[in-house]
Symmetry: C2
Subunit: 114 residues, 2 copies
């Protein structure tokens, strides 16, 4: 039974194949009942399964949640729409949704060399 | 005695007067001897002095330090070069230096309406 590729799959495929993209992760998280931070669950991951991918997902999701909390602390009517972490070697970009973070790790230099 | 405007002052003046810029802060911080987080000191601040400016400076410097630690945790040979926090209402941009963070808060929509 051939499962019809969803629109999400197609978008992920497009991002994943974009020049310079090292990895794409979709991390789901929900605050547990008593408001504590639940461990993020990996919904999609194009990086090889293992501690490195887990490390990226957990740490970046945690930083994005703190950025979101910071934005709301400063102005409760405001909200985080994008977080871009630029480093010497690559860029990490995080697009937040209600319960999800889409995380993309990309080497801009490779992209520009297109 | 007319103090000669330094190059730093001129740069700050240029950024400050850029369309859409709400505030510019230069925050200095040093880890104290036993590695604890010292309170950031404000070196420059174009926002009105008060709790709001302090809040922005302290929280953004703290997030930037965590972002820098995260980058180094993931890859000790890497380093944070820029952090961009995009929100519904405005953008907060942080350029890290060794002991300083240059923080600029800007409303892109006003900039585009130029």
């Amino acid at each position: 039974m051939q499962v019809k590729k969803t629109e999400v799959d197609e978008r992920i495929e497009r991002i994943k194949n974009h020049k310079g993209v090292k990895g794409l992760l979709i991390v789901n998280y929900r605050d547990d009942k008593d408001g504590g931070q639940s461990q993020p669950q990996f919904v999609r991951c194009t990086m090889p399964q293992g501690p490195e991918a887990t490390n990226y997902g957990v740490k970046l999701a945690s930083l994005a949640r703190q950025a979101r909390n910071l934005v709301r602390d400063l102005d409760p009517s405001n909200d985080l729409t994008f977080l871009r972490i630029t480093c010497k070697k690559y860029e990490m970009m995080i697009a937040p949704d209600k319960d999800y973070f889409l995380i993309v790790i990309q080497c801009p230099s490779e992209e520009e060399a297109q």
